[in-house]
């Protein structure tokens, strides 16, 4: 279970997150949607402290960390309970696909190298990249890199995987293969929080949708609820655009 309590964050005078409290249960697949620049990514990054909130608490797997006073040790432990998939893949450029996965297993989880490699191979197999294990990231396509990143996150066996717009940097053709990989993760019953603009995908894969605007969670519910009968005016307007079929007259 992940608990966020009274989380706030501002950059200068810009309040990005306004006092958000949120509980996410085990095995939930949460899609975080909303307009750009409303704090979705920041909220995600606050959960594993890549961005440190101004105030509030994050609890994960029995560990509670206060944004205002936290030790290096607590941060490390919190990060070891979570994994992240980034918008720009962020694979270690100097490591092969396989090493990208084993690195965390060896240095954070303390696995022996052969064990780590075995584990990494299994995960690569799952995302369909077993044959690219010894390629460096720059030799892989964007979609392949993102699939390695997903395998890297999965291998760590975390409490939660945080997805930060995992398909935004990909062309439409590659989006499909990455979404498929994420879907497979969802089926394994791992808790996931996904920031995404792929509304169809969110609706399809998520068990719960959060709609965020101006640093506040406006809507929180099952996909059908949020997409078909949103309660909030802002959500309604956002969904209208989504539900409308555009007709272009040329």
């Amino acid at each position: 279970m992940i608990e966020i309590k009274n989380l706030s964050k501002s950059f200068g005078s810009h309040h990005v997150i306004r006092d958000i409290s949120l509980t996410i249960n085990d095995k939930e697949v949460v899609a975080l949607i909303g307009p750009s620049g409303t704090g979705k990514t920041t909220l995600l990054r606050c959960i594993n402290f890549l961005t440190c909130g101004d105030k509030g608490e994050i609890s994960m797997g029995g560990l509670t960390v206060d944004c205002r006073k936290h030790s290096r040790y607590n941060l490390l432990n919190l990060r070891r309970k979570s994994a992240m998939v980034f918008q720009n893949y962020n694979l270690f450029q100097n490591k092969t696909a396989l090493q990208n996965i084993t690195e965390g297993l060896i240095y954070a989880k303390g696995l022996k190298k052969p064990e780590a490699e075995k584990r990494a191979c299994v995960e690569l197999e799952k995302v369909g990249l077993a044959d690219r294990a010894y390629d460096y990231p720059h030799r892989l396509s964007g979609g392949q890199q993102q699939r390695v990143a997903i395998a890297r996150a999965m291998a760590l066996d975390p409490e939660v995987i945080l997805f930060d717009e995992p398909t935004s940097a990909l062309d439409p053709e590659k989006v499909g293969e990455v979404l498929l990989a994420i879907k497979r993760v969802a089926r394994e019953g791992i808790t996931m929080i996904i920031v995404t603009h792929e509304l169809d995908f969110a609706r399809n894969v998520a068990s719960r949708i959060l709609f965020m605007d101006e640093g506040i969670i406006l809507e929180d519910g099952a996909p059908d609820e949020v997409f078909q009968t949103p309660k909030n005016e802002r959500t309604k307007r956002f969904m209208q655009n989504y539900n409308n079929d555009f007709i272009y007259n040329i």
Partner: protein, 231 residues
């Protein structure tokens, strides 16, 4: 005027032992310079304003000082200063030590800039990715950032090492006898009759040494750049 090949060959043989001195000075200067440069780069990248300011001030000052002046100031100035302030008399200061110190001071300044630039060239995303898989800050630096920094820093590093080698030849200004010092003595003894033979053979040593350094760094680039090579 003619070029005496046999004298030229003799000089090369005569200079050989002095090559060791040049290499020794170079190794010490670059070694100390690398340590100093790393510390300075760390200071420049730190959040502490005072530390940053000091590091930049040092680099600017050193980069704007001609090497000869620094060497002369250190060699003649420091004993004078010590005598004045503490009453210590240094009569037999090691010329080699002072040459190494001033070369290291120079080398450190340039290295710190090269290291800083290389470090900033590596995206902060790499660090974030490393800590997000649960590495400590140090592990992230050691395993992910440093190997990438090394690859980026190697080409400027070759420049710095080669120019340190060549600036090391200024040792003769304080009377240090290395390759150039020996060449000067020889040239004086032969009244300039073998000037070409002497200085070309001295230059030959520097060419070979510089070439070796450059080739060495090129092969290091291949080792650290495995991830950048396209087939």
């Amino acid at each position: 005027m003619r070029f005496d090949v046999s004298y030229f060959m003799q000089t090369i043989v005569r200079f050989l032992p002095y090559l060791l001195i040049v290499i020794k000075v170079l190794l010490y200067s670059v070694g100390c310079g690398l340590i100093l440069g790393s510390l300075l780069a760390w200071a420049k990248l730190s959040k502490n304003r005072v530390l940053r300011g000091l590091a930049y001030a040092y680099t600017t000052l050193i980069r704007c000082t001609p090497a000869v002046i620094l060497l002369l100031l250190l060699y003649y100035g420091i004993p004078l200063l010590l005598n004045l302030l503490l009453g210590v008399k240094i009569t037999n200061a090691s010329k080699e030590l002072f040459l190494i110190i001033s070369m290291a001071l120079f080398c450190g300044a340039s290295m710190s800039e090269a290291l800083r630039a290389a470090y900033t060239a590596i995206s902060s995303n790499q660090f974030e990715a490393a800590i997000s898989v649960g590495m400590t800050d140090f592990q992230a630096f050691r395993r992910v950032l440093l190997p990438q920094v090394v690859f980026v820093v190697l080409p400027p590093m070759a420049n710095i090492i080669v120019s340190t080698l060549k600036e090391g030849s200024l040792g003769f200004t304080i009377g240090f006898i290395d390759l150039i010092g020996r060449a000067n003595v020889l040239n004086g003894n032969t009244l300039g009759n073998y000037l070409l033979e002497i200085y070309i053979s001295a230059a030959l040593f520097y060419w070979v040494l510089s070439g070796t350094i450059i080739a060495g760094i090129r092969s290091l680039e291949r080792i650290f750049g495995k991830h950048k090579i396209t087939y």
